[in-house]
Symmetry: C2
Subunit: 198 residues, 2 copies
């Protein structure tokens, strides 16, 4: 039908959200314009601000608008234990579910040679610097318990061993093949406490 130029553009653009197809995008656009313009204005502003200001923590690679994220900058968190996770979302999940008081390192992925994802893409240079610095006593490998997550954990465990650092893997309370992000707090907490040396 006719134009509705800007409205059509907005609907198309909403389809860039994961899980949103043309039909839900249309519903979202109408909802925002007819019932929540203030929410739409704020969301627009925050999206632009987030893209402009949110980068990666210099120490742990998580998403943050600061040079160093709040966990890394927090003097109350222990420097000798490092929890390795696949995604920035996993930092939140682990921190909410457990009593872990150390720091994190975010891979933003897992080793996957077939997809061209090797150590370089996962910040291993930064991770090895950290291992070489002499402050680390334990590395907790909290990558997903998928085949690739397991392989990544083993690879990092071997590097840690070379630096004389203890590497532990979160216990298999986590269902095999499962992804950390979708697991309930209780199971995850148990898995965390039941971790054993790799």
């Amino acid at each position: 039908m006719a134009n509705q130029g800007l409205l059509k553009e907005l609907i198309q653009s909403l389809c860039c959200l994961p899980g949103v197809g043309p039909k839900s995008a249309q519903r979202m656009a109408f909802h925002l314009l007819l019932r929540n313009r203030e929410g739409a204005r704020q969301l627009g502003r925050l999206l632009e601000k987030a893209v402009a200001e949110i980068g990666y923590c210099r120490d742990c690679r998580t998403l943050t608008e600061a040079e160093i994220c709040e966990v890394c900058a927090n003097p109350l968190r222990e420097n000798d234990t490092l929890c390795i996770v696949e995604s920035a979302a996993d930092v939140w999940v682990v921190d909410q579910a457990t009593t872990f008081k150390g720091k994190y390192f975010v891979l933003h992925g897992r080793l996957s040679p077939l997809d061209g994802i090797g150590p370089d893409q996962l910040g291993f240079d930064l991770l090895e610097q950290r291992m070489a610095s002499g402050t680390l006593k334990e590395i907790i490998l909290a990558t997903n318990s998928t085949v690739e997550g397991q392989a990544t954990a083993h690879f990092i465990g071997e590097v840690a061993a070379k630096h004389g650092i203890q590497a532990t893997r979160i216990a298999h309370g986590v269902p095999m093949g499962g992804e950390l992000e979708f697991i309930d707090s209780g199971t995850l907490s148990a898995a965390f406490n039941g971790r054993r040396e790799l």
Copy 2:
């Protein structure tokens, strides 16, 4: 856990989208920031632009960034037939499913006294002006076939009769209790063609 101030704000703001809870909002935020920053930037810009520029058509009340929408401004569309719909989305649905070549009028709702929605909220003053102008021969009532949609159609039909304008109701090919937006094109087209005088 720690701050992630701007990221948390963004996630909360994404929850203003219909059907989006905290968990999917988080997934959306991470997806945009890690994998589609250009899409996020564009969506942010379009949301702000849409809120600032999209208003209501002076003639038919649909959403448009122009003073008069493209359907109302189109000299090839007939001025003597007016299709009344509940929502701006219905304009698109009817226009895509049928061969209708007249114009539209968008109520943005339906009569619902219990919710305080009366003729004033649905633009009836504008609609009566249109009826009084002498250009209209037929009004097609394409409100939903819910109880309130039916009542709204009957109410408008009576006003039309006073102005000597023929009022038709789209046929009951549309399932009773169903909403226009979710009906397949074939059924809707049949209902449109099978319309009869109210």
